[in-house]
Amino acid sequence: MNKKERLELANWVVAQAKKAGADDVAVNVVNQRDIEIEYREDQLDKLIESTQNSLSLSIYANKRYSSHTTNDIKKETLAGFITEAVAMTRYLSEDPYRLLPDPKYYANQMEIDLELIDPAYDKVSSEKRVEIAKEIQDKTLGLSDKIISCTSYYSDSFYDTVKVHSNGFEGVREGTSFSSGVEVTVKDGDKGRPADWDWRSVIFFKDLASPEIMAKIAVSRALDKIGQTKMASGIYDMIVENRAVGRIFGDLTGPMRAGSLQQKSSFLEGKLNQKIASDKLTVTDDPFIKAGLGSRLFDNEGMATKRRVMIDKGVLKSYYVDNYYGRKLGMEPTIASSTNTVFECGTRSPEEIIKEVKKGFLVTDFIGGNSNSTTGDFSFGIVGKYIEDGKIIQPVNEMNISGSLTEFWHQLVEVGNDPYIYSSLRRPSLYFKDVQFSGI
């Protein structure tokens, strides 16, 4: 099925649902092709190839709402599916806030090429895929004789999404992505087998990270863990490496969602235009980055996207507001969830910042832990390195950090100059003062 046929199908679904009694309908038809390779011990370990379809429809009928997904997209089965879906919706309670977005939000979509499709996608051969995975493995194994296991990865993907709303939206989104990576385990005497990895995603094949660099990073990170131990509990400085920042930052943005606010489970309720972090934190939602992993011209509700400052020098400037909870709260919709999150970076590298730390930890990974979005309480397990007088002294693990997000982000004293670009969350390393650590 090509794009045109998918659009035709989506419009047919809209018509069928309306015929069955829906007042409004939103339909998505998705097609995705994936190839994945795992390579270890000089041979292909896993080869997975697939093509999949899915169709989802949201039904708005008599002020009631339901949503349905199926991967059986033959019209003869869809017809029954749609009739049952509409019939079932009648049993739900009324919800006057469930409406498609006002069509004014569909308008003024930017007309730029976000560069989300690699024209070379079809030209990547099966041999080339295996060759990349093999090269990553070879480069990795050449780096240390302490390696006891190495698995390398390659995958690529093409997706094509069609979106039709019965009140006047029609959009198509297509894209490619390529990923490669490696996971390495090393021997630490009879203590343990520390492991680490490097794994990166890009939109264009030519932008795949170099096997040498990935091998070097994965191996050095694993070797650095040899001799891990826990240190004394106490209050220390903390630098969170860019790669690891996602875990804690996600717990700040979750409570920025309208759903969280409306359900009274956000510690950020009522904090718009107030300081929720130190001056060092400025974060923008930017949907227009060329070849950005979160770039898009319209969001999941069909609304034209905009660049938005979310947090400006620590002041909360915008929530993530979708149409439904926006209506319940009486707020203008912004965007339901982030596109590309861009931090305003500092001027120094984490290596330079480390030199300034008297007593602290460089956190390279979080392990487990959680946070309470209602109160802001958090506690996470960490893996990293102990720093004293500006020098890395000792790899550490089996320690926790704890605190409250209401205070924690005010303790941010510096932002690194190293945004991680292999993600839609382009986060640099972050430096926090006076964090509660528990160990021995």
Binding site: N53, H68, A87, Q228, G234, K264, I367, F380, E398
Partner: protein, 514 residues
């Protein structure tokens, strides 16, 4: 046998099911073949009809998959129907449903896997997928696929009514009942969110060795989130059940109990404090604390990690890892428990597997590839998220058997420590062995007595180290009610766990430094 915390609820089960109901997704025509007592007769003919295949087609597809060589092939047909309804702001005003249908084809050569799937169950589409999966092979010669022989498996999840025959009109009153009860119980409750999910999964698995099995796998979760407010402060918590059971499981008593538990767990947080940071004695309450086993030892015992040499438990089989009163099992056979399976996803029988018996490390959890590699019998742990994935070793219900102590004795033995009651999530680094889990609620233990409530602390330790520090185990084994999902290699599986009250002599607790 084992005292299950839920048995008392199952016993009270009432069978009153309304006769007229609105079907909620989706009766594909062949499904009619399953009408009758819960469709659990598992008659092969019904499954052939359901997927529109016969023995000849399946054998042809297997032959196509092994055309280029390979040691083994299996075909996994699945039809999954799931429904979700939600109550928010005191009204059941949202419903989601999902239908998923397809077949996965796997070819194995040595330890190599070729995999493909198709969502179109036609001979043409299946042969194309078979050809794709066959690209992994090339070295070995294969025997022609054996004649298929039906393998009948026990039924560990009997239910009264198929979920797809339970209408949304029957489910809605359950949510409303819990909601009303929740608000009636405590004036501090300001919001609730209640979610009711059910799933029917039909699977048919055929192997090139000639085994063919079929299974109907029900699943449901019903959970309540409460937000409470007191003097301008807010707290939230939740409670839920998640068995492989039918609609009859949710009796009025269970529904009321859910409301009571959710409210209790939420409002007690207003008095909760954070413990002191650092190492201390920790007593794990019976039940939900089984997450300790899942993270500290379960994952490390999955045989793929050991075959690849990346687990901290590699090379430790038959060695002493814990006190002699510690026995830990992974079990697929517990009636109606969330992690139970009648047959694993590569057609092997399921069982109760000892990970640790009397303190000695006994067996890894195997899938087909690892059991061949180690030359042992499969343990029935080859599982997959759905037909889109190749199976890998996964846990089922992981729990510790009862020990010689009592809960009272254990709590009394602690001068200053933490008693952990409920958890939300955990994680483990397989190789280094560090694992952590997040304690949502608990209590301090001071001078042998339970005192102030505690909330939101992470606990972190090292698997083998913590196992060796389990110094007391009580006789009160309980399985957790909720159960959850376990994620590994991008695949999510239903699991559960359990524990008797037990004491770890020292483990690091996230908290506040004085």
């Amino acid at each position: 046998m084992i005292e299950m915390s839920r048995r008392k609820f199952i016993k009270t089960g009432a069978a009153g099911i309304a006769l007229v109901s609105v079907p909620m997704f989706f009766k594909l025509n062949p499904l009619a073949a399953f009408a009758g007592p819960a469709g659990q007769q598992r008659n092969l003919k019904d499954y052939y009809a359901h997927f529109g295949v016969d023995e000849k087609t399946i054998r042809d597809v297997i032959a196509a998959a092994l055309d280029k060589g390979g040691d083994y092939c299996d075909i996994f047909f699945q039809h999954r129907i799931s429904n979700w309804i939600g109550l928010e702001d005191k009204a059941v005003n949202r419903a989601y449903s999902n239908v998923d249908f397809g077949v996965g084809i796997r070819v194995i050569e040595g330890e190599q896997t070729g995999y493909s799937f198709t969502e179109e169950i036609t001979p043409g589409a299946m042969k194309l997928a078979a050809k794709t999966a066959s690209n992994i092979a090339g070295q070995s010669k294969n025997a022609p696929p054996a004649e298929l022989k039906f393998h009948q498996t026990p039924n560990y999840y009997p239910i009264e009514t198929l979920w797809e025959n339970v209408g949304i009109d029957q489910k809605i009153p359950h949510l409303e009942r819990i909601n009303d009860k929740t608000f009636a119980l405590d004036r501090r409750i300001i919001k609730t969110r209640i979610m009711f999910e059910d799933e029917s999964s039909y699977v048919l698995i055929a192997t090139s060795e000639g085994r063919i099995v079929c299974d109907y796998r029900p699943m449901t979760t019903l959970s309540v989130v409460c937000i409470a407010e007191q003097n301008g402060k807010r707290e939230d918590n939740y409670f839920g059940f998640g068995p492989r059971a039918g609609f009859e499981y949710f009796t009025p008593e269970i529904l009321d109990f859910m409301a009571e538990e959710a409210v209790k767990r939420t409002v007690e947080l207003f008095d909760a404090v954070k413990p002191e940071a650092g190492e201390m004695e920790v007593v794990l309450a019976a039940g939900n604390s089984g997450i300790l086993l899942h993270e500290a030892i379960g994952h490390g015992m999955e045989a793929d990690f050991n075959r690849k040499g990346v687990s901290i438990f590699a090379d430790k089989i038959n060695k002493s890892v814990a006190e002699s009163f510690v026995s830990i099992v992974d079990d697929g056979t517990n009636p109606n428990w969330r992690g139970s399976i009648n047959v694993d996803d590569e057609a092997n029988d399921t069982e109760m597997t000892y990970l640790v018996k009397d303190g000695i490390l006994k067996s890894y959890l195997h899938d087909r590839i690892s059991s061949k590699y180690y030359n042992v019998m499969p343990t029935g742990n080859g599982r997959r998220q759905n037909f889109r994935y190749a199976p890998i070793p996964r846990m089922r219900n992981t729990y510790m058997l009862p020990g010689p102590h009592t809960k009272e004795e254990i709590i009394k033995s602690v001068k200053k420590g933490l008693y952990t009651e409920t958890f939300t999530n955990g994680e483990v680094a397989i190789g280094a062995g560090d694992f952590s889990f997040y304690v949502k609620t608990g209590r301090m233990i001071e001078d042998g007595k339970l005192t102030r409530p505690v909330k939101d602390v992470n606990i972190i330790g090292n698997g083998p180290d913590v196992l060796s520090k389990i110094v007391m185990v009580a006789d009160d084994l309980k399985l957790e009610e909720g159960g959850g999902y376990c994620g590994k290699d991008g695949q999510w599986c239903l699991v559960s766990d359990g524990l008797p009250t037990c004491k770890v002599s020292s483990i690091t607790v996230g908290g506040i430094n004085a």
